[in-house]
Amino acid sequence: MLTDERRPAPAAPPPPVEATRRRRRRPWLTIVAFLSPALVLFLLLVLTPIVVAAYGSFFNWNGFGAPTAFVGLENFHRLLVDEIFVGDLRRALLLVVLSLGIQVPMSLALAMLLNQPLRGRRVYRMLFFTPFVLSEVVTAVLFTMIFSPNQGLANHITRLIGLGDLGATWLADPDTVMYSLFLVISWKYFGFHTILFLAGRQGIPQELHDAAAIDGAGPWQAFRRITLPLLGPTIRLSVFLSVLGTIQLFDMVWVLTGGGPIRSSETLAVTMFQEGFKRFHVGYASAISMMIFLISLTFGLLYQRFVLRRDLEGAITTIGDRR
């Protein structure tokens, strides 16, 4: 029957007797042959490094030879009183708050805009997404030039719209650098979130809005009572990706500011890189790696358990239950 195709195929259906016999002959050989390349690659280059980082974080280690000077939890203890590390956490929080408070709502609004019957909608959609295709490095170098005090574009624009030298220093001032950074991050990533929201919005059946219009709901009411609740899964996903991206931010900051001026824009990953690759405090840097990992993992698991649970079928925390 044709309808069979619409049913999700069971994981391993019992094949007809003859086929079963044929496959049973050497199923293990097939399984091992197909699975082992991926497994070897993954164990060697993903899991081993994580385990080594975990192990190394308990040592005073410069990265050469095996770690020998066991120091217990001292690296982690030092982290908690390290001004830079605590600052990293504070700055990550600032970026998260700015993203959730400004970038996500703005993307949502733009998605609603692109959902209108607008001339040139396809072109706008394409343009908004463009920065997401560029690498963080190219974006960062481009904006370094834009923020440059004399030849840069940013100061010309603020002067043009009558703000004078509002942010004349942009990246050079510890007080403004994080906001300039946020500006560049938003420039690169808002289009991605807009497209996510747009896809979510277009997945809402038009009948719901038609029915609401017949019942006399205005556009705002329809947005508030229909669109927003039904976009819930997409919003939660967008927030999730923003937060994880912020915790792991490196390329953009490293190229744009190098963490400066006077370490005022360092992120967790930048501090880790400085300690590990510039100062050869590999043990200490490993402890920072582990913190990034633990923060991401804790956030990811908690978020999936409590917020995304109803949205994502097959998410990490539910995979085990499906057996």
Partner: protein, 279 residues
């Protein structure tokens, strides 16, 4: 009636204006880069917004004549292709097993891969460096290709497994009845049937590799192997005072991405959004 259409037109105009404004925010920096490459530093200061006057192609010509630029573009391309072929090939094989074979421990193994999604490069980069040094893979393109493929496996396997599961079991049964072994079924039937999903994971792998910075940064000391992101960043620190020259180089570096995007907009958007959302 005329009132209603008038109001609608005004609203439409306002929305149009807003869209143009946002589009300008996106376009202006990029166009500033492209045009800036045709100016000199004096023009950048006195005439930041207008067209170059006169047009000075020297910075572009210099960059295009330098062997460094072409070398970096080639390296980026070769590494992206190698990583993609590896991760899609190896990932598809594993996904096939996870989708079609029942064996004890399957879900545990699959969960292991899935948890890999939570491991960003930044966490593993230090030990990875130590490991690659021990394996003699520094200053070797394999030192970038292999880890990139390994870190791309989780998302590749997750996407392909769910796609493979959607292919009706009858297809495999009839193939097996016709005497088709698992290898032939995988290569001749499953993969050709899975083009859309393979496209998604390939887009993710190519873009991820093309844009990767951190890993090439620690693996390649030798400028012979630099990829474009490394090259751009080095170029910027080398010519830090010469804005126009840097703008020309950045423009050339972003051109391949922009051209690909212009030609394969739909595939890139759907690949990147659906791929990343599933992670």
């Amino acid at each position: 009636m005329t009132h209603a259409t008038g109001a609608r037109r005004a609203r439409h105009g306002a929305l149009q204006l807003l869209s143009i404004l946002v589009a300008a925010v996106v376009v202006v920096p990029i166009v500033f880069g492209i045009l800036g490459g045709f100016k000199d530093n004096g023009q950048l200061f006195t005439n930041p917004f207008g067209l170059p006057d006169p047009w000075i192609p020297g910075n572009y010509v210099d960059a295009l004549r330098s062997s460094a630029f072409w070398q970096q573009a080639t390296n980026s391309l070769v590494i992206a292709i190698a990583s993609t072929v590896l991760v899609v090939g190896v990932g598809a094989m594993a996904a096939y097993i996870f989708a079609r074979y029942a064996f004890p421990g399957r879900e545990v193994l699959f969960t292991l891969f899935a948890i890999g999604l939570m491991f960003p490069f930044a966490v593993a980069i230090l030990p990875l460096f130590v490991l690659l040094r021990e394996m003699n893979l520094l200053n070797n393109p394999l030192g970038v290709v292999l880890p990139q493929a390994a870190f791309g496996l989780p998302i590749t396997i997750i996407i392909l497994r769910s796609f493979f599961r959607g292919i009706p079991a009858e297809v495999e049964e009839s193939a097996v009845l016709d005497g088709c072994g698992p290898f032939r079924f995988f290569w001749r039937i499953l993969l050709p049937m899975s083009r859309p999903a393979l496209g998604t994971v390939a887009v993710l792998a190519v873009v991820g590799s093309w844009n990767n910075y951190l890993l090439p940064l620690i693996v390649f000391n030798d400028s012979r192997w630099w990829t474009l992101p490394l090259g751009v960043q080095q170029f910027q620190s080398q010519y830090s005072a010469d804005t126009a020259r840097i703008l020309a180089y950045v423009t050339l570096a972003m051109l391949p991405s922009l051209v690909c995007y212009a030609f394969a907009e739909r595939q890139l958007i759907s690949g990147l959004t659906s791929g990343i959302s599933k992670g």
